[in-house]
């Protein structure tokens, strides 16, 4: 063994109690850092998952247009002084062509043209407000994974039963409906249809469950009294949902319709998620930093206690770098052991929390082993311990032996 590490080892072992306290500090800092950040990742993933049960990564639609005032001449007044929304603009021209082009883009996973509208579910004299979405059932399932939260019936029947409808569990409960029953529905255009329930879904998001239903594209077009070329939005899912924002502008320019990514459409949710990430990062980094201070303190004390040793080592021909190595080795020993134990502790904690049931649409506590978080934590933890050792070590390296011997 190298003599520097040998000396470091002796110092570490002779101050066993101090070393243990420092290790404990790093352990707790590391474990909490990894646990909190894994939890944050888990929260984000769960909320994204429940999000994408009903929201596409990108929605292309025709935004309402305000009638433009006629060109203003040099000093003339505007001709239209009270502009209004142009009627009948919520329609995409030639949606099949757009869908075909989109499907050819490398980043696009699935394209679903849909007809969305507000409807009333009629139950005798009372009506329930709701929203129905019509699309190709196979593609719709590929995008929202609807089959995974079906509780009754079969989603596939939507394509075989021509007047089929799949409704949320909330609607079914309120209206006392089951698969196979009939449901009368009135669209915003005043069209009445009686549809056959082929399935019931439950997302655990009560707002969705109480209002939402799915029909085939043809049924939806009929409810809107439109031709079979009518589509109100084109939904797009990407392979990487994080990059939806980058593609939005590109598609807006490409097709001339508004392309809105999920982050922009849900700014409030994104802001809350960012804020949570900032708070958790700040708190967990502070904890890591505090454990770094523990190491710094202990090494600072060791350096003061061993100042005679340092002087004698320098007199015997140890260079400044040797002295730095001795104390940095000591800090890194504490750091490596602390980080390793911290990882172990965090994994145990995560495994316990994973089995805690919290209910609601979350179910079990949304946490799991996140390799990226653990990697980041390890790097930051080792860096902090290195610095916590390096600063006192540099002080030790600068000790002037003559000034010590003269005392």
């Amino acid at each position: 063994m190298n003599i520097n590490s040998d000396i470091a080892k002796t110092y570490t072992l002779s101050g066993r109690k101090q070393t243990m306290v420092a290790i404990l500090g790093v352990l707790l800092g590391m474990a909490v850092y990894m646990f909190m950040n894994s939890m944050n990742e888990g929260f984000n993933r769960t909320s994204n998952e429940s999000f994408f049960k009903s929201t596409p990564h990108l929605r292309i639609y025709s935004d309402d247009k305000i009638s433009a005032p006629l060109q203003k001449l040099s000093d003339a007044e505007m001709i239209i002084i009270n502009p209004k929304i142009v009627p009948n603009t919520a329609k995409i021209n030639d949606p099949q062509a757009i869908a075909t082009v989109l499907a050819k883009q490398g980043e696009v996973k699935v394209v679903v043209p849909q007809v969305a509208m507000n409807v009333f579910y009629n139950n005798g004299k009372s009506q329930i407000n709701g929203k129905t979405v019509g699309f190709d059932p196979a593609k719709g399932n590929e995008m929202f994974n609807i089959k995974s939260f079906m509780v009754q019936g079969d989603f596939d029947n939507l394509s075989s039963v021509s007047n089929g409808i799949v409704i949320g569990s909330g609607i079914a409960a309120k209206m006392n409906l089951e698969t196979g029953d009939n449901l009368s529905i009135t669209s915003s255009r005043g069209v009445n249809r009686v549809l056959k329930i082929v399935g019931i879904f439950q997302t655990n998001n009560s707002n969705e469950d109480k209002t939402k239903s799915y029909v085939s594209l043809t049924t939806a077009q009929q409810l809107m009294m439109e031709s079979n070329a009518y589509v109100s939005d084109i939904n797009v899912n990407f392979y990487e949902f994080e990059r939806a924002k980058d593609f939005a502008a590109k598609y807006s320019d490409m097709f001339g319709y508004k392309a809105e990514d999920w982050q922009t459409a849900n700014e409030a949710y994104m802001a809350a998620s960012r804020m949570r990430t900032i708070v958790i990062t700040f708190v967990s980094l502070t904890l890591l930093l505090v454990s770094g201070f523990g190491i710094y303190n202990i090494l600072n004390m060791t350096v003061s206690q061993k100042i005679n040793d340092i002087a004698i080592l320098k007199a015997m021909g140890f260079r400044g770098n040797d002295v730095i190595r001795i104390f940095v080795t000591q800090a890194m020993t504490v750091g490596v052991i602390g980080v390793a134990l911290g990882i172990t502790f965090a994994i145990i904690l995560i495994n316990i929390m994973k089995h805690v049931y919290v209910g609601g649409d979350i179910g079990y506590f949304p946490i799991r082993f996140e390799p990226i978080v653990f990697l980041r934590g390890t790097i930051i933890g080792l860096f902090i311990t290195f610095m916590a050792g390096y600063i006192p070590a540099r002080k030790a390296a600068r000790v002037d032996p003559v000034s010590i011997f003269r005392k």
Partner: protein, 223 residues
Amino acid sequence: MNVLSVNNIRKSFFDPVEFEVLKGISFDVKKGEFLSMVGKSGSGKSTLLYILSTMDTDYKGELKIDGEVLTGKSLDELARIRNEKIGFIFQFHYLLAEFTCLKNVMIPALRLGKYSEEEIEFKAMEKLTALGLADQAMKPASKLSGGQQQRVAIARALINDPLIIMGDEPTGNLDTKNTDIVFNILKDLAHNSGQTIIAVTHDMDFARASDRIIEMVDGRISD
């Protein structure tokens, strides 16, 4: 042959007021010489020793050891030269308390890295045996008596077979019996192993028994 020579060494302290502690010191030391430096407190003898030891680099003039000019060399180079060519014995023995006597003796050689650990251990044991400490080798340094500790320190100073052994009051803290033991060891090293000894001392008996005395008076060598 000159092992060490200094030429017109000057040094001043600036705190609290400017004070020239060494006023142009020049002398040569031959191989195998046992040299004592004496003088009153504040005469500059310790200051001079620390300059000779290469640990103090803040001086004017020139220092040569083994024919090599050391003035102006980097701290790392000086550390290497100290490690290889100079052994130290201090008044308060300054052993590393948490290590065994054997390890204390081995440390400078381990730093030098010229021999394997087994060879170094064998050599260290040899030195301790020669100084009558074979049975103390595995004890922690802090468990030994003052005289024993000083002998361990001598063994440590000898481990790299240095050209020069420097002592700052090597017997200052010892009783008469141990002083005699340490003195005889040093004398034997100078006369039989050809190693040069430079020792700062207050003890006039010790000085008179050595080969040569340099007396410092107010920053100068008196004649």
